[in-house]
Structure formats: C-alpha cells, structure tokens
Amino acid sequence: MKEVVEGSHAVSEAVRLARVQVMSAYPITPQTHIVEALSEYCADGRMAARFICVESEHSAMAAVIGAASGGVRTFTATSSHGLALMHELLHWASAARLPIVMAEVNRALGPGWNIWMDQTDSLAQRDTGWIQLYCEDGQEVLDTTLLAFRLAESASLPVMVVLDAFFLSHTYEPVDIPDQASVDRFLPAFQPRIQLDTQDPFALSQMAPPGCYMEMRHDIEAGMRRIPEHYTAAEEAFASVFGRRYGMLEAYRCEDADIILAMAGTAVSTSRQVVDDLRERGEKVGVLKLRMFRPFPAALLASLAGDARKIAVLDRNFCFGVGGIFAQEIRAALYLMDSRPPVYSYIAGLGGRDVTPETIEEIYVRTKQSERPAPESVWIGLDPAACPVCRTD
C-alpha cells in the first residue's frame, strides 16, 4: 500500500518487514528517526525483536556482531561520527563474515559540527569489506534495505544501505510499503551459516597467524567477487515479487551520450531533470547513477559509459590530497578498459550545500568546453567571501 513516509521510515518499515531479531544503535542526527521508529515497533509488539540501547556506536556494532554470531538477523543504523567511531568493528564484522545490515545516513564530519549531507563518512569506510549501496529516493531506500538482508545472507558479508541526510532521510514521499506475506516470500526466515553452539563448541574470530591470515582475506575477496552474481539473483527474486529492480548502476539516456554525468544519491534525481532539459536543447548527455560502490562494478561501468566522449563525476565528498572519491574509483576502473573516456572530477554540495540544476548544468558546460580534465578536482560554487583562501579560476 502506498503511504507518504519519511526516508528514515522507509528504512524502519523495511527492517520491521524483514523480521529482524536483534538491533542495537546509538542516536545521531540524522539517523534518529530510524531507530526511534524501531524502538516503538519493539515496544508495541509490532516487531518480535530486541533493541539494545547501547552507550556508543562502537558498542552498537559490537552488540550486533555478538548477536549475529549467535545466529539471528541483525540491524543497526548510524551516520557520520557514529560510523567513524565504528570503524574498527566494521572490519571485524566483514572479516567474521557476518550478514549484518546497516543503514548509514550520509552526513558531514566535523569540525566544525555539521549535520548535513556529505558522502565522505561512508566513502571513508570503503576498505572495510562492507557492501555499499547508495539510494536515490524513498522507495529505493525501502527496497534496498529488504534486498540488503537477502544479499548479506547469501554472501555472508555485511551490507551498508546509504541515504542522503535530510534530502532523503527527512523527506516525505509516497512509498509502496509491501505486505508481510510478500516480504516473507522474498525474504524467508534467517538460516544462519554461522552460529555459536554449546553442542558443537568452536571459536569464532580467533587468532589467525601468518600461515592462514592471507587465505582468510583472499576468501573474503572471493566472496566480494561473487556479489554481482548474488545481487542479480536477489534482484531477480525481488522483481518477481514486487516488480521493481534497480541494477548495480543505472544508465539514464546514456546510449548515444557524448557526456555522461556520474554521481550517487539524491543528486541523481536532479540530474535526470537537467539531462531532460539539455536533451530538449539538443545536447547529447546522460546520467550514470552510481548505486553499488562496494564491490565496485567496473566491468558494468565500462560497458555503460565506455563509449561516451567524456565522463563528468559529481562528488559530494573529498579525499584530501587526492580529490573526489567516486572520480578516483571511476578512473581506476576504466584504466584497464579498451575505451577509456577522460574523467572530469567536480566537487559540489559538501556539508549540506544544495546541488541545484544550475550546479549540474555548470558541470556539464565546463566539461563540454574543456579539452581535457584539470589535474585536480574542480570545486563548484566556492564563495570567496566565505573563505579568503579560495581561488576561483
């Protein structure tokens, strides 16, 4: 049934429908609405689950690691500083091969304190062995959260469902909330692959000396390499029940595009509109929506965008000393491909600043007009009055 719900509640509805058994989380804006709703579901009996109100995000992840090792379906949610505090345990969860699902609301890191949209928090966790899926709207948030459980459990790896602060977490949209029976068909009761058992005692996550550590890491990578296969199967099953699918990446009007704009999150919706407008004016432009970031779908990227003359990447994140993170990843992915369009890197919309249609059109125009990409990322919309060291060329 379609209801008008907040992006945060699209997450919590999916978690309820997934019949999660143990949750643990620590509040941080803009994640709070997710966990408040889940606490209510536990209190009023709509969920048969335990919500552990821990004293930090580090403990939240530790608690779901403990619970997942005990063989139940688990969930947590965080954002920004909370995710950074979890860092040690993000590695722990993936290397222990636990199918934990986490909603992560993209928010800036301080100082200065900033609660608004920015992707650096999740992208900084790219080497932790978590699958990362970025969402564009409320429906996708709900669907992706459901999909995440199936994907995590089939791959024995944790999944992070990423959504923009406020633009998505606090925006009300009509979302089709499925009935429990359909969800149960898509996502049957959890069958743990790993579970501590007093009848069959063994140790989990114990010391791994040099003689086996590398093999264990290689095994995780082998699991990661199979994600596209698991993902496609899970999406197939999802589509057969719900009729929707998203793909690992989505190419919008890219077939004959000279320039492809690439980005993740809600800016994709704005870009679709800009592309439609530019197309009406005869420009050959498309959008590549970056949805799966880990594992990075390099081959698919090459097949969808390899024929463009230029790729322009909009990063709402930054890696100091290098540049936009999605742009780096796309450049690296294309390096071994036969056709290798130049990648233009733009930084915009950090710390909650709006990415407007004008921002995106400016990126398009700059890309069209430059013969080759600048060696460094180009920052769009810097205000020299707000920052005396800014130079705009």
Binding site: I52, S56, S59, A62, A67, A203, Q206, M216
Partner: protein, 301 residues
C-alpha cells in the same frame, strides 16, 4: 580418584600457550568447572585471546566468541539477546576479559551493559597490567608498581582503581572478588553467579602473572594467597550494590611488605613506600569493614 565436593569436569585442554605459572589459566580452569558446558565465552583482546588458541585450534571445550578489545560488555549483550530470541535461556553468557579490557578500554561498554542489567556474567581476571602487550600499566596497576610504561623512578604513583566499588555503584545484582588461591570460594562464587540469572554479575578474579610481576613461576598460588592474607586483595561479595559480605577475615593480617617484597615489580620500594602502601591497605580494609557492618543480616550464601 579425587574425592572432592567440587566439580571435577574440565572444559580446558592441556597444551594451551599460557606462560608457566599463569594465574589466568588457573582462573579459567576453575571457572569452567563451576559453570559447566552450557557456557559461551566472549573474549576481547588480552592474554586469554592467545591462550585460547590460534585458528584452527582451541584450548577450550565451550564456544568462544573473540571480539575487539573495548567490546566485551557490548558483544556479550548482543550474544545474550540472540540466545534469548532463539529461546535458549539455559546457556550462560560469560564475558572474560583482562584488567585492561575492563578497567580501561572496555569500561564504557561494560558500564553501559551493567546499567542495562544485561543477563550475563562478566569476569575480569586481574593481572594488574597489560600483559599481552608486554607489561604496560593499566588503571588496575597498584601504587608502587614498575611496568614498562611506569619504569624507574616513574613507578606508578596513583592507586589501583577499585573496580568492584565502581560496579557496586551501578547497583548490579552481584559483584564479588575471588582468588585462584581460594578455589572453593571461587567455585562457589561462580556457581552463585550462574544461578543468579536475569541480571549482570561481575566477578573480579585475582590472577598472578609470574612473567609480568617478575616472580618464579612456582610462586603463582603462594603470592595470590599472600595478597589475601595481607588484605591487599580482600575476598568479599556485594549483592544489589549495597549488601557486603566478607568471605575471609585475614585476622591477624600479615604486613603488606611480605606480599610486595617477594615480587620483582616492587623491588625498588623503600621503607617509606612500604609504610605508605600499608596505610592505604589499612584504610581500604576499614572502609570495607564499615560497609560490611552496614548490612550485618546478610548471611554468607
């Protein structure tokens, strides 16, 4: 054939990699005898994370969840919740951590867990320093101790944190000290803790570390006994955070110097230092006696 009223089934294998004379392994041996096979251990980084064995071996005959250093209280909470959701209320979840993982880096997670009154037993085996990383000071290291981070004249000039008081202040159902030199007392406390299901139970177990304390490995139990006899480590229980029971009166006490002077880690102390430490021990003992006197009706369980 051993005739003893104490449980004799061992859930620890020989061939573990503890140092000779390791008190922490003695503690585990007695703890598991008392707790039995329906036990799951959660072990953060500490010597015991190594003693329990490397992949693919284990020196323990109960399931073990190894976890990150700061997380024993939180990971045990999660495991307990999972067992409850699966309908297994019989298995006892036991967090087993060193003093570093309890007094220091894991203190926050444990404080949170016992404030929620999580249904588990938390055991701190206390060897009074970070032994696994090479004898660095912790907040459990006593006044007067030389460690690798409190060397020379910079030996530790602050007192050991009183961890049982800290958790008694959380009003947890059961907190107790125990010593490897008093196995009957220790086993009784583990059994009592196991029976007191439904809330947080904290056991502070004294565990000699011959390597870190620079004592001969055959002195492990003797030194543990001296700690009790000198009142440096009193044996007592606290129920609901307020009712205190003393389990061993140590009357008359031996001078604390008898305990300190046999250990390399205290070799540098002067007569004045001994005097200062004796005054601290006396003061702590008086305080403890006053708390015991507040609840005289509490009989020994």
């Amino acid at each position: 054939m051993i005739h003893s009223p104490l449980p004799q089934t061992d859930y620890m294998a020989s061939g573990h990699v503890g140092c000779p004379g390791c008190g922490a392994t003695v503690a585990m041996k007695f703890a598991l005898r008392a707790l039995g096979e329906k036990t799951m251990l959660v072990i953060p980084a500490c010597c015991w994370a190594i003693i329990a064995g490397s992949h693919p071996q284990t020196s323990l005959k109960v399931p073990v969840l190894h976890t990150a250093f700061a997380t024993a209280g939180a990971a045990a909470s999660g495991l307990r919740a999972a067992l409850d959701m699966r309908g297994d209320t019989e298995t006892t979840v036991v967090a087993w951590a060193g003093d570093g993982g309890t007094f220091d880096i894991g203190f926050q997670a444990l404080s949170g867990a016992v404030e929620r009154n999580e249904d588990f037993i938390y055991v701190c085996y206390d060897n009074e320093a970070y032994m696994n990383t090479g004898v660095q000071r912790s907040s459990s290291t006593p006044f007067g101790t030389r460690t690798t981070t409190t060397p020379g004249t910079n030996w530790k000039h602050t007192r050991k944190k009183n961890i049982v008081e800290a958790f008694a202040a959380h009003r947890i159902p059961y907190a107790a000290t125990a010593s490897i030199a008093y196995p009957e007392d220790m086993i009784r406390k583990f059994q009592r803790a196991r029976e007191l299901k439904g809330g947080s139970r904290f056991l502070h177990v004294y565990a000699t570390c011959p390597t870190g304390w620079r004592v001969p490995s055959d002195q492990c139990i003797k030194i543990a006994r001296l700690a009790v006899k000198t009142r440096a480590f009193p044996l007592y229980e606290v129920t609901d955070g307020v009712r205190y029971t003393l389990n061993h009166d140590a009357e008359p006490p031996l001078p604390v110097r008898d305990y300190l002077s046999v250990q390399g880690r205290f070799k540098h102390l002067t007569d004045d230092d001994y005097g200062e430490i004796q005054a601290m021990v006396d003061e702590d003992w008086e305080l403890l006696k006053r708390k015991v006197a507040l609840a005289p009706e509490e009989a020994r369980a």
